[in-house]
């Protein structure tokens, strides 16, 4: 009952960004940028370093205000930062319940921790976690509030290849369960192809290219369509002819 209401609420709100401008001094990092994300959609944002991906994410998170234009996002948002940003002085469970209230807060946190494969580690200190485990805790912290939008800023950049593949599986599994819109920033084209409903490429302070991805899980791993998509993404990034 209550979850049905929550889903309805989320349906009515997506991400709408209209002609957003963001300047640092006299540098315009975001220049009249437009972006819409449908509910439950997983959008991947690619772009060269310094093009303004994190800047856009911070605007969507509400951490910074735009210098022009308009940003409309769901009220319940969560962000997973590049570094895990766990509170070192709180155990795992208390890190996850940080923004939660109510008598069932602990139980919900336990459930989400189980979802990310960390049941039994609730009482660990962050210093006792591996990099991948810490990143999973911050993923759990983001998901536990049942947000309508999850923003992920290069969440797996510091992880090794195998852990990263596991995290991809995790993200896919969590998506089907939580149905939140997700915007994930990455430098990794293969990661983009593996996860995305849509891949966006940023250039010159705007969304330069947009590619819908309608591929089966197997086709995402290896197929002609995959290679074509990869080539188009490389072209958008200005890297055509390499690799």
């Amino acid at each position: 009952m209550s979850s049905a209401v929550a889903t309805d609420l989320r349906r009515s709100t997506g991400v709408v960004v209209e002609r957003v401008v963001r300047r640092f001094g006299d540098r315009t990092v975001l220049d009249q940028l437009d972006l819409t994300i449908a509910d439950g959609e997983l959008v991947i944002l690619l772009g060269p370093s310094g093009c303004g991906k994190s800047t856009l994410l911070r605007l969507l998170a509400g951490l910074d205000r735009p210098d022009g234009g308009r940003v409309e996002v769901p009220a319940k948002r969560a962000i997973v930062f590049q570094a895990d940003r766990l509170l070192p002085w709180q155990r795992v469970l208390r890190n996850v319940t940080l923004g939660l209230h109510g008598p069932d807060a602990e139980q919900r946190a336990r459930d989400v921790l189980a979802e990310v494969g960390l049941s039994g580690r609730e009482r660990a200190w962050p210093k006792e976690l591996s990099g991948g485990e810490a990143q999973r805790v911050s993923l759990a912290r983001a998901l536990v509030s049942e947000p309508g939008l999850v923003l992920l800023d290069e969440p797996f950049a510091a992880l090794d290849a195998i852990t990263r593949l596991r995290m991809h599986d995790l993200v896919r599994a969590l998506r089907t369960r939580h149905q939140a819109a997700m915007l994930l920033v990455t430098h990794d084209i293969d990661e983009a192809i593996a996860l995305a409903d849509r891949v966006l490429v940023m250039s010159d302070g705007r969304i330069g290219g947009s590619h819908e991805v309608h591929l089966s899980a197997a086709d995402r791993e290896a197929s002609v369509a995959r290679e074509e998509l990869r080539a188009r993404l490389l072209e958008d990034l200005g890297l055509a002819g390499r690799h």
């Binding site: 998170a61 962000i79 509170l87």
Partner: protein, 297 residues
């Protein structure tokens, strides 16, 4: 240019040196598994039998020996055993007990007052911009005034009663507590504060789960300084004018050339300092378990 030739020392030094130079290697095994001869264990034991307290104990023994041999005269530095004897004597005469009690009472009152003011002001200053404006300037100025230089003024203002002593101690304790607590709260990682905001946690959560625990290390540093400075304040206040207390005991010893008695006072002061240090250490062990530097992981 003349040709520079690099001599080949490896060949000259022989095969043994050559392998050592070319491919120096290191082998790591579990600490316990290193092959130890009984002689080696014995040597390690003999080297630092009491850990960090080895040096003080060695000094004490040397001191005792020198005193017994008559090298150190009794009025200059009496033997440690004779200091202990004097302490026992003074205690049995009913002098040391009350003196110690009154000193501890002064230190306790001064600390309670100084820490309360320092902590309240530090928390307000750390959390609120208006608190910072209210307190920071004053405390910075106070911090530049040496503790001992305030004593004459306090005597003029409050007389030579208990109040002066307690206030001097609380002054010594409060200022470092404020400064350290303020810096600790302001020094909590901004990125963690930002993260907390994004989880939807309110101000209360931010304070109780982020700012307070995050500033604990700095708070404990402040506490360490406060305890040390409060002992300093205690000594200063008691030495200048008192008719009871440890300082009085020392001054009296000085007047009557009772070097023993002076040393008894000094030893008790140092024991108080050690106790305070151990107290903070125990607190750190309990409160800072989360720190990576504690129990290597």
């Amino acid at each position: 240019m003349t040709e520079v030739r690099i001599p080949a020392p490896a060949v000259i030094k022989g095969p043994d040196a050559a392998t050592k130079n070319e491919r120096a290697r290191e082998v790591f095994v579990p600490r316990g598994a290193r092959r130890r001869t009984t002689l080696g264990t014995l040597r390690e034991r003999l080297r630092w039998p009491l850990g960090v307290y080895t040096t003080p104990v060695v000094i004490l023994i040397a001191w005792e020996a020198l005193a017994r041999a008559g090298v150190l005269t009794k009025t200059y530095a009496p033997a440690p055993t004779s200091i202990v004897n004097s302490a026992v004597d003074l205690w049995q005469q009913g002098v040391l007990g009350p003196d110690l009690a009154i000193s501890l009472q002064r230190a306790g009152l001064g600390l309670a007052l100084g820490l309360t003011v320092g902590i309240v002001a530090g928390v307000l200053g750390g959390l609120l911009r208006s608190g910072e404006y209210l307190f920071n300037g004053v405390v910075q100025v106070l911090n530049t005034i040496p503790l001992l230089a305030v004593l004459p003024l306090m005597i003029v203002w409050f007389g030579i009663d208990e109040l002066t002593k307690v206030l001097l101690i609380s002054f010594g304790a409060g200022v470092p507590m404020y400064l350290n607590l303020f810096a600790a709260i302001r020094g909590v990682d901004q990125r963690l504060i930002e993260m907390t905001r994004t989880t939807g946690a309110g101000t209360w959560r931010l304070v109780t789960r982020v700012l307070v625990p995050g500033s604990l290390p700095g708070f404990l540093v402040g506490l360490r300084f406060s305890l040390a400075y409060s002992v300093l304040g205690l000594v200063a206040a008691e030495t200048v004018n008192a008719d009871q207390g440890l300082g009085f005991l020392i001054t009296q010893g000085q007047t009557y050339l009772q070097t023993n008695q002076v040393f008894v006072g000094l030893v008790i002061y140092s024991l108080l300092g050690l106790l305070a240090d151990q107290f903070v250490r125990a607190l750190e062990r309990v409160l800072l378990r989360w720190r990576p530097s504690y129990e290597a992981s």
